[in-house]
């Protein structure tokens, strides 16, 4: 997706804006993950007309989590199921939810904020940025059907086969265990650092499996697809030594980056691209708030994202009320 044209001062292509139907809201929430949906619940319950604009489907990264075990009220629950329940609550409150939208233009600097999608122009008194993060992909020039980022989706294609897992964090080790549970014959884990960062418990469970090999100080230099196989070139980051290995598929879990290219140049971001906010989730722009994984912070969990969303919505309500009162 191309970054939208910046129009911080509201001087976008007015003729194009006028051709689209205008939808008026009090609060526009960009992003339908748990932070955005929680903000929507609080905003709607504060009697604010609210819309969520979601690039893909509501639920965010939680949709990709097989089982969530740190969410109060559930010993264990599938991420997609939990998010569907939250979405149902959001819709029940009368929040408009537009999914699979592409945001083409933003104007956040004026009192009235506008967000233009391919179909509509949305106006709002306040905007909450809750676009979350997305998985980092391998920085390789390859478009192979055999390079994956979802073990739940694609793991079963490799039952009885050999796969490469890229990354040494919690996601990589958790997904390795899931792949092993499916019946993957052999897994090679490569981590660019000289150690794996995954928690001790999950590392112990993976390391005691005799069909898993872990290579630290190793990065993927190239992946080439051959008939039914991937030829992977690995480089030892300490010695520079190159080796090749053949696997049936490659699963990549090397972390996430914030989805903030939409706001770059609009609100203040930190050097890593996260939105800088006050403790009350206010950004550098008046009437623009942020919540969830997209915010610069230490802990990123469903529960902390929900707290952010709640605060952002309550602060947005206060901002709108004070503006009305003059």
């Amino acid at each position: 997706m191309r970054p939208p044209a910046k129009s911080n001062t509201g001087c976008s292509n007015e003729s194009r804006v006028q051709m689209k139907q205008i939808k008026k809201f009090n609060v526009i929430i960009l992003g339908g993950g748990i932070a955005g949906m929680t903000a929507a619940i609080f905003a709607a319950r504060a009697n604010l007309k609210t819309v969520i604009l979601e690039e893909a489907v509501c639920g965010g990264l939680a949709n990709w989590t097989h089982s969530i075990e740190n969410f109060p009220s559930h010993i264990s629950i599938n991420g997609m199921e939990l998010m569907e329940r939250v979405l149902s609550q959001v819709e029940n409150l009368g929040v408009e939810v537009d999914q699979a939208v592409e945001i083409e233009r933003l104007s956040l600097g004026n009192e009235l904020k506008t967000v233009e999608t391919e179909s509509f122009t949305y106006t709002g008194d306040a905007v909450i940025l809750a676009t979350g993060r997305q998985p980092i992909r391998l920085d390789l020039d390859i478009d192979s059907e055999r390079v994956h980022s979802c073990a739940v989706c694609d793991g079963s294609a490799y039952i009885g086969k050999r796969v490469l897992v890229v990354g040494g964090g919690n996601s990589a080790f958790d997904e390795t265990l899931y792949l092993l549970s499916l019946g993957i014959r052999e897994i090679v884990i490569v981590e660019a650092l000289d150690h794996c960062c995954a928690g001790g418990g999950v590392q112990k469970r993976v390391r005691r499996r005799d069909n898993v090999e872990i290579k630290n100080s190793t990065r993927v230099k190239a992946v080439e697809q051959e008939t039914g196989l991937c030829r992977v070139t690995l480089e030892n980051t300490a010695t520079g030594k190159i080796e090749e290995t053949f696997v049936d598929g490659v699963f990549v879990f090397i972390g996430q980056r914030p989805n903030t290219w939409l706001f770059s140049g609009h609100v203040d971001l930190d050097p890593d691209g996260y939105v800088v906010t006050s403790p009350n989730m206010e950004t550098s722009l008046s009437g623009v708030f942020a919540a969830g994984d997209v915010v610069r912070k230490t802990y990123r969990y469903l529960t902390t994202a929900m707290a952010d969303g709640s605060i952002a919505a309550m602060r947005a309500e206060r901002y709108i009320r004070e503006a009305r009162e003059g």
Binding site: A56, V57, N63, W64, A100, E102, E118, C150, C153, D154
Partner: protein, 108 residues
């Protein structure tokens, strides 16, 4: 959104898929019910089919039809396959947005 969504025909089994696809036209998605990317792609496809109400929309559940998955060498889901008179004219795996889908469909 108020538009009429093309209903996906996913009445496929390993016993009938060959016969059903023999003269198929339209867009076929290989999906799984627990696949988040499939859910996201499906949401985009709702919008695509609202603009193409005459294009047949077919779906094969990979957990129901492992034989079809093997025959079509599906290793990544969702995978979209375009059919014309039973012949595969194009395929694309992974997520795409509405503009990408329009381009993919329009170029084949």
């Amino acid at each position: 959104m108020g538009f009429v969504v093309q209903k996906r025909n996913e009445d496929f089994t390993d016993k009938n898929y060959r016969e059903r696809l023999n003269s198929a036209n339209g867009v076929l998605i290989f999906f799984k019910k627990n696949c988040p990317a499939c859910k996201a792609l499906d949401k985009m496809l709702e919008k695509f089919f609202s603009g193409h109400p005459d294009v047949p929309y077919l779906g094969i559940d990979c957990d129901v039809c492992p034989g079809a998955v093997k025959e079509y060498d599906i290793v990544k889901i969702p995978t979209l396959v375009l059919f014309e008179k039973g012949q595969v004219t194009a395929r694309k795996a992974g997520l795409m947005n509405l503009k990408g889908m329009e381009a993919f469909y329009g170029s084949n």
